[in-house]
Symmetry: C2
Subunit: 221 residues, 2 copies
């Protein structure tokens, strides 16, 4: 349905990662805006509210393929659709989650992932007490069954919310089972083959930034 030819028109290839990271912010803002019934929205207004540079917003949004009207801005409805399209919120990605602890549970329960195109279809753990139970309708299986289930359901994303010590071995299983992307919440770097997409969400990195900034201003009056 879509060409992979490298015509000049094709928008797909080179989206800067920082832009991608901002896209969901635009989307959440626009959803809120739509509720208030606004028809149009301009980049400078978005920029002010999200605390960004106006030109940045214009450039970011252009990646969705939107075209705005000078002096007025963009049609909210159109922009919303193009953003959801860009972010892939329309297609469903199915995921297996390993590590049904507090964080894993939080992710499973997280409202909003569904409409963001992510569906956690099963969870796994090694804790006998957790196996057989379910969280928010998602069954928790023995990790030993991962391979078995993965062979039957085609899963593109694996989520790791295990303790650090288990993360690498879980990743290995995921790779063997043909998972294409791994979302790692364990506070260690894991190693995977080149072609696997890996996204680390290291909570300590964020904490480090906060504490570092606090330290820089702590002698201020």
């Amino acid at each position: 349905m879509e060409e992979k030819i490298k015509t000049t028109k094709s928008k797909l290839q080179p989206v800067p990662e920082p832009t991608v990271r901002r896209m969901p912010n635009y989307l959440t803002f626009l959803k809120e805006l739509q509720k208030s019934g606004e028809q149009y929205i301009s980049a400078p207004v978005i920029a002010k509210i999200l605390n960004l540079d106006p030109t940045q917003v214009v450039k970011d949004l252009s990646y969705t393929g939107i075209t705005g009207k000078p002096k007025v801005g963009y049609v909210v409805e159109d922009l919303l659709n193009l953003l959801e399209d860009f972010l892939g919120y329309n297609r469903q990605h199915e995921a297996f989650l390993v590590g049904a602890g507090f964080l894993g549970g939080a992710l499973i329960q997280y409202q909003g992932f569904r409409e963001a195109g992510l569906k956690i279809v099963a969870a796994f753990d090694v804790d006998k007490k957790k196996i057989g139970t379910e969280i928010a309708g998602v069954s928790i299986f023995d990790l030993k069954n991962f391979r078995n289930l993965a062979s039957r359901i085609h899963i593109s994303i694996g989520i790791i919310t295990t303790p650090a010590s288990e993360a690498q071995s879980v990743a290995d299983i995921m790779v063997v089972c043909g998972i294409k992307a791994i979302w790692n919440f364990a506070p260690v770097s894991i190693w995977v083959p080149e072609h696997i997409i890996i996204q680390d969400t290291h909570i300590y990195s964020n904490l480090a930034v906060i504490i570092n900034k606090l330290g820089q201003t702590n002698n201020d009056k």
Copy 2:
């Protein structure tokens, strides 16, 4: 506060944020390494394991003030201490958390924050069923009491794990109570005065990166 940033006498100002974000990764790796009894570690080895550029590692580590021995590397023990020093893991920062839902609970329970210098001393919610209970020894109070408690305990960090709709008003309370930094997990941008440090941890940004990368490679092969 209108004027340009004054150079502080004590520490060198300019540590790149990406460097700060990588620091905890070095630390966790080194802690693991220390268990295995290694005395020395070199930048190229760290780089290989953490999948980074060797020069990058050298530059990053130099911000801690470490000096290594050519051909051998760095003394693990020293590097560990300097990293903990850099990251402020030695001083304790106390935090209030608002929103004792799944994510909030996960953070409270999160082992490791303590040794990373973050102590969540109290949690708040508006849900009557949660108020009065506790999670992992942390009491959950009525949000109405936030101001009262904040006036008695000196808190530098506020953590927001509420639904999006509540985030801004909670942030406002935090600002009024003199909190210096806000760690925001709600999926919206919140607005705070210039001098407040704000760190957004938007889970959707990470998801967006994964799905975007998946989309780029799905027509491969």
